[in-house]
Subunit: 352 residues, 2 copies
DNA sequence: TGTGGTTGCGCAATCGATTGAGCAAAAGTA
DNA sequence: TACTTTTGCTCAATCGATTGCGCAACCACA
């Protein structure tokens, strides 16, 4: 009790040190102290004696620059804003973790916002990033149109990830969804499956469109004229997966394989198939999009198109760092090399 | 191309507006504009005419206060620092999502740091929070000792979550790990299981210790004198789960139930049991700690002690808000009502 | 002694917003 | 008319760090 009081009396006044107080205590000016603190002593010809005296004092009182004041003066905050649709989604969690770790290594802190898939939250988050003068923004965009983000990118570098827009100069990093879906479908065909059902997510999103294209191209161009494929569904949810299986089975349509476009859809598929007494892969084969450690522990383990979150995070941070160092705005340099697709990995397990 | 140039010329100068420029354009002073912007016009007797003229101009040019400058002047940043051991862990992801959403509702932004279970990263993150003048800190601490965080809490409110320390005045919100482990074990006993193996995680952590206590108390005080329970293992990892099962089986020890102290441990257990051809729950029953949607889709679905991340997030944010509004420091008020345990839910499925 | 160069450091403006104090004009009161 | 009160707004200091410019002291050299 009394110990705590002493603690507070010790700490609260102690925290008051600033360039000014250190200057007074060492007998130098704020300017000199500032230059020593930022390690620019030699460059500004501060004497060795002065440097070490000031450094001693700094160490003694544990001084740390006020990053708010610094940010005001320098217009750099060493902060990056990150907005994602849902941190609960393991794919985004993995992506975020990767990005956060890499940016920390570069000396940046992260302002994180969860847009919960709404455009309103996304705009609010990005506006907040702008007002907070972040040095850069990484976004998994949920808005239909890129125009708002394009406007922001005129003054702050922006990199999109996972989702993107057609006809935009905004740099992005995405999985090659077309290639992933096509490869997985071709694998199913090569194993002899002929009636393949794909269950898609949000139809308007680019990744979903690309997956549909990859799936349909594989079926059409696969060289197996007896193959049939169809696409159904409309959201990345468990219910969507279950509902669509239900619909197909009760319509009596024949299927021997299902391609779920997300792990959530997959769960619905599994539930519904089980309820109908259908076994995987004997009655129906299953492939999914997205990776997750649990998929290896299902019975049977699930084959899947695994997005490489590690490389996606790496590429995103690389691009952003380049943009941030080259200029204040994302303008020119994004056009040439800022848009890239990461190849996903097809992981084969017992489900097909 | 030329369109983009026009865009930039349009936007970059536009972003230059500040209280000063708006003051000049409307003919009032910075003070007056500031008061109107912050909605204090009436309180400071600004005339209706002036208010609406200024508001029109603000809307016209899309002015937004510079939060860095505001933070410097007011010493409030409307920002909370959050540090967790690993965003990849679904439990922490869920907790973070909850906290972020709630804090946003209260007008706070989040600086997120992933300490990757190292004390060094944790200290760096918290120091950065302090330098950035966050209004409060929420931490899932990984350090052995609370002293560093206690020091910080003298000047900034801190709330711990999930993990905590003995003999500290720091406020915390945790699952009642003792009660959760005890209830799950009692359930196993009630179903007739008599040789129960518990596989624990990091031994020094409080949650783990409490789970061990709850488990052992249930076995000892359960009123079933023929029951036997033992605890083994040393980390929250898949490998730990597999290794301990392996060891027990190859030692020929008889077990009819396993209590895994985390989902990762559970996965190792499942893998190892399968490799030995043992079936769940017929040969060995299984219960786990932590919730996850996948557990319902395993075969069989896994019984578990589900931590209530929703209530934990709610309680944490409530406590922090109270601390932040009551005073600058976390000092006194944390003692009485700042330490609370949240009861977990026992979810029964087919694994036991 | 005068000129020029170097060394070592301080002055003061600046970033953009906030806020207590205060002032001029208008309105009210006696 | 003189005095007080209210209205409506401005002034200027402040938060803490950065940085271009410049000055004094010292040395070298002729």
């Amino acid at each position: 009790m009394s110990a705590k009081c002493i603690l507070e009396f010790d700490l609260i006044p102690m925290k008051k040190d600033t360039l000014q107080t250190i200057a007074e205590r060492t007998g130098f000016s704020k300017s000199t102290v500032s230059r020593v603190v930022s390690g620019q002593g030699r460059r500004y010809r501060i004497s060795e004696a002065a440097i070490s005296k000031i450094q001693d004092e700094i160490r003694a009182c544990g001084y740390t620059p006020d990053l708010i004041a610094q940010g005001l003066r320098t217009r750099r905050t060493n902060t990056v804003g990150l907005t994602i649709p849902s941190i609960d989604n393991p794919f985004f969690a993995s992506l975020s973790g990767n990005i956060i770790t890499r940016l920390k290594r570069c000396g940046y802190n992260i302002l994180l916002s969860d847009s919960m898939e709404t455009e309103e939250n996304e705009r609010a988050a990005i506006n907040s990033f702008v007002s907070r003068k972040v040095d850069g923004i990484i976004a998994v965009p949920v808005s239909k149109s890129p125009s708002f983000i394009e406007g922001v990118s005129a003054s702050i570098p922006v990199v999109l990830i996972d989702r993107y827009y057609e006809n935009t100069f905004l740099p992005y990093v995405c999985t090659d969804n077309y290639a992933g879906a096509r490869r997985a479908t071709e694998y199913l065909l090569s194993k002899g499956y002929r009636n393949i059902m794909a269950i898609q997510g949000v139809r308007s999103s680019m990744p979903n469109k690309e997956r549909v294209n990859g799936f349909l191209d594989a079926v059409r161009l696969g060289g197996t004229p007896d193959a049939e494929g169809f696409v159904t569904g409309d959201s990345f949810s468990v219910e969507n997966g279950a509902r669509e299986i239900e619909a197909v089975l009760s319509a009596g349509r024949k299927i021997d394989a299902v391609f779920a476009f997300s792990t959530t859809i997959l769960l619905g598929v599994i539930r519904s198939l089980r309820e109908h007494g259908l076994r995987i892969p004997d009655d129906v084969a299953v492939v999914s999009f997205d990776d997750n450690v649990f998929l290896d522990y299902m019975d049977p383990p699930i084959s899947r198109v695994a997005q490489n979150t590690d490389r996606m995070g790496e590429a995103t941070v690389d691009i952003l760092m380049k943009l941030m160092s080259s200029s204040g705005s994302g303008g020119e340099s994004g056009m040439e090399d800022g848009q890239m697709l990461i190849m996903p990995e097809l992981i084969i397990r017992g489900s097909c």
